[in-house]
Symmetry: none
Subunit: 154 residues, 2 copies
DNA sequence: GACCTTTTGACCTTGTCTGACCTTAATGTC
DNA sequence: GACATTAAGGTCAGACAAGGTCAAAAGGTC
């Protein structure tokens, strides 16, 4: 438990816990400097510990004034959302994706227009690829949209 | 958000929001003076944030009494769909895709939630592929969503 | 020793900012 | 009116400031 990646992970999670907004901005190079490591080490930590599946959103920007922004999603493990997001899985077919959207529509979670928008993004011909990839990308898109809705909930 | 270009962008957008006519006239050198930067920095901001695809028209005039005039170009949701869909093209980068969505939001064509939904579907890591394909799929997704919105109009 | 995780370094891409030099328009002078 | 002067804005290459990627080396674990 004494490796760098764990230390950096803890550091970031402490920062997140302290922040009101559930968001921290850090500089990749600066953070690497603090921990005396290669900048790409920061990417490793982000890629292994701050995945969407773990309830984090990482956004970055390059160039002057660039940053790494981490946002924590307070996912309630009992909430229907969590189950919903899990139900998407690694890959999902078009009919199963549409079924999820239809249920959201029926339950009044999304509007008619929102449902149309989601359907439009899940179409087979839209994600014009061969089998396994098509379903994987569809799962990514759907999961990402579900999380966006969840975030918009407040 | 600590870079000059963003500050100047915000400044100009505030001016535009305050203006009745949806137009502002500024002096390039004077503005550069205000922000203590090179005049060409102003051109950089105009070229990266006030393009036609962002919904702005920039006109300038040189010589004595010269000016930079920025006009907000409002999207007409009944007429501009064709052009909008065409502007997506065969392939589109994430920033350009987001610019289109931002414009839809700005002009009240989509709601906040709808915009979030669209953004969620356009993310880099969501369409987890390498270059040209990533942009091609993003274009398909965005085009499909625009068409869905258009159809929902009736 | 096979396998997984961590760490680094070389090289890449994107975004910002400046400075030197260019073009155009208005105004003043003869 | 011709010409010079002055007052704008335009262009572009290049420096600078981030973050991204990937493969290979190093370190742990069983």
């Amino acid at each position: 438990m004494a490796n760098l990646a764990d230390l950096i992970e803890q550091h970031l999670k402490r920062l997140l816990a302290k922040s009101e907004s559930g968001t921290v901005d850090v500089g990749r190079n600066q953070l690497a400097e603090t921990f005396s490591c290669a900048p790409s080490q920061i990417n490793y930590v982000l890629a292994t510990r701050f995945l969407l599946e773990h309830g984090y959103i990482v956004e970055t920007r390059r160039g002057g004034g660039g940053y790494v922004r981490i946002t924590v999603l307070e996912l309630d493990p009992n909430a229907d959302w969590q189950r919903l997001v899990n139900s998407v899985g690694e890959a999902i077919s078009q009919p199963r994706g549409e079924a999820i959207v239809n249920r959201l529509l029926r339950d009044g979670v999304v509007s008619h227009r929102e449902a149309l928008l989601m359907m439009a993004a899940l179409g087979r011909d839209v994600l014009s690829m061969k089998q396994p990839w098509c379903d994987i990308v569809r799962a990514n898109v759907l999961r990402s949209m579900l999380i966006a809705l969840y975030r918009a909930k407040r």
